[in-house]
Symmetry: C2
């Protein structure tokens, strides 16, 4: 910056002011302003990020933390976030927690340490129902860093959040299975202490009740780990398959589990879509149809909504009026048939 000032024979203040767009407010010669801008372009000058951050206390950077990045899920979410944040002149710093709460805490600290202005977080939930639920997330939410929770929220601390209507999605899926003639609908899920899954479970039970079916806990399979080599799902489905009242339909709450369930049932000699009907949360990869009903989640829109909300929060934090009230955004999932064999937009 000194270079620019020196070469133009003006003071650094002048340059700084012009660059900041305050040139007019300080009645700086239009001609001078042009010369400064030109010189800056000529020299390719950009204010030093650290010096700027050091005394502005702002970086123009948003931190995004996700459990993983390799699922289509996350990719769409990120795209949605970028769609909104880039045009707003913000940059993104991405981190993953790999489903590990400790790593997540470290990622969050790293981002805070690097001075992100705000945080977008899909947080990781441990298996089971542990006593200490995501204490670091609770701390974060109570802290000063503007944060928007995505896809799931903390049950004990209110916060800005963007989620989908998991309960409604599950209900719609079960209703559809009932329409297909299913009379004994089972449920397969991870045993995670997470609001989205809890909502799906409520939806499942609610829809059963509404359809005049009874809820049988035996038909619920909860997996206690993410290990793909585990045989717990196989064992549970085998046990269910031996019963006289074996389920003729399943609602599965996640992508991978849905495909695994289909494969195991086929292994039992059942034909998916004939002997047993399946619905799952998730989306089929390109060039592949699973023959299931899909509760497709509006991830792109979710990312956009979350980013927009965060920008609003950031803005209101600037304003002297003080903090805006917390916002809850709920998006609707779509029920879609995936498979050439039956109706729908396969």
């Amino acid at each position: 910056m000194s270079d620019v000032a020196r070469q133009l024979g003006v003071s650094r203040t002048t340059v700084s002011l012009v660059l900041k767009g305050d040139g007019d407010r300080y009645h700086i010669n239009a001609e001078t302003q042009r010369r400064v801008l030109d010189k800056v372009a000529e020299l390719g000058y950009r204010p030093n990020y650290f010096a700027r951050a050091l005394n502005l206390g702002r970086t123009g950077t948003i931190g995004v933390v996700l459990p993983e990045v390799f699922e289509t899920y996350m990719a769409e979410l990120i795209h949605g976030i970028e769609d909104v944040l880039y045009p707003a002149g913000q940059t993104i710093m991405l981190s993953t927690s790999r489903f590990d709460p400790d790593l997540e805490r470290r990622s969050l600290e790293q981002l805070a340490h690097r001075g992100v202005d705000g945080l977008l977080l899909v947080f990781t939930c441990p298996f089971g129902r542990p006593r200490r639920r995501a204490a670091h997330v609770a701390d974060l939410l109570r802290g000063p860093l503007p944060t928007v929770l995505v896809d799931r929220y903390h049950p004990a601390v209110d916060s800005n959040r963007v989620v989908q209507d998991d309960e409604g999605g599950a209900r719609a899926a079960v209703e559809r299975l009932v329409q297909q003639g299913c009379r004994r609908i089972g449920y397969v899920s991870f045993d995670l202490d997470i609001t989205s899954l809890a909502a799906r479970f409520r939806g499942y039970k609610g829809a059963l009740r509404a359809a005049g079916h009874r809820y049988y806990p035996e038909r619920v399979v909860l997996l206690h780990e993410r290990n793909p080599a585990a045989t717990d799902l196989r064992d549970a489905l085998a046990a269910l398959g031996r019963r006289r009242d074996r389920p003729d339909g399943f609602l599965v709450t996640t992508d991978g589990l849905g495909l695994k369930t289909a494969r195991l049932l086929e292994g039992q000699g059942l034909r998916i879509g004939e002997d047993v009907h399946l619905a799952r949360f998730g989306t089929d990869p390109e060039h592949f149809t699973s023959g299931m009903w899909l509760v497709e989640q509006p991830h792109l829109e979710m990312g956009r909504a979350a980013a927009r909300l965060l920008l609003r929060v950031l803005e209101s934090a600037e304003a002297p009026a003080g903090r805006a009230p917390l916002e809850h955004v709920v998006l609707a999932p779509t029920l879609r048939w995936s498979g050439p064999e039956r109706g729908g937009d396969a």
Copy 2:
């Protein structure tokens, strides 16, 4: 830091020195050092990232830029990178180019602006054979920022790089197809100006020749865009299918294209693994077997190797001896059968 110093009645220099580990070199009282460390822990003090970066010119952060993040491919790469960089005390800043060279350039600039110490880059190649090949990548490589290219490299500028043996992988796949009895092996790929794909093509042609087969350009299908809705592949395969000498095997160079090819051939009434044999670069998702030969790429190891190489480069950049010579690491892919119907470790 002033707080720590004041509460202990020492100067900020002392604290700084101790924190930097230079306490002993400056003969600072062991007792004093302990007190400083304790106080720091007690107060949860951490040096300000920006102030530090501002006069150190280092951040302890590595930039990673990938075309996309949602493929298992990238996830493994990232895991490999993290495996090495985290224990080394480095942090990662992740960015994506979304297959867009302009976005990529901007991502690289952003990272440089944020003071990353080094860069790990899987760069994006445009379709076709454009005259100006990745000029920004060339500039980057000529610049001062330590950079390791991953999975592909720039044909015009030598650089540190970690790639796989694409030619060998393609050759092995073709050899296997020949063993399976294929006599007319086709080739499906994107028409990208990229070293890895060029190597695969060489491997394909070389293996044909070695097996005493002739190379027929008609059997090569090159796609000119990434649009999943495009019908170019369908059309090309249909045309090939009508020929008397229709291919009885295909080598496909990417994951998605491989699955799409399989699906289209099935649509022609062909049975994969019987009427036509397929090999592709890529990996089947969990709980899914495609009935193809897979050239599985060592992405995890690739990430690790790239990170290790970058650390080496960083270290040698510190050393007064000057820059180390450029290194090229080549890793071997694995040929694997995916499908329960045939031998192999399905």
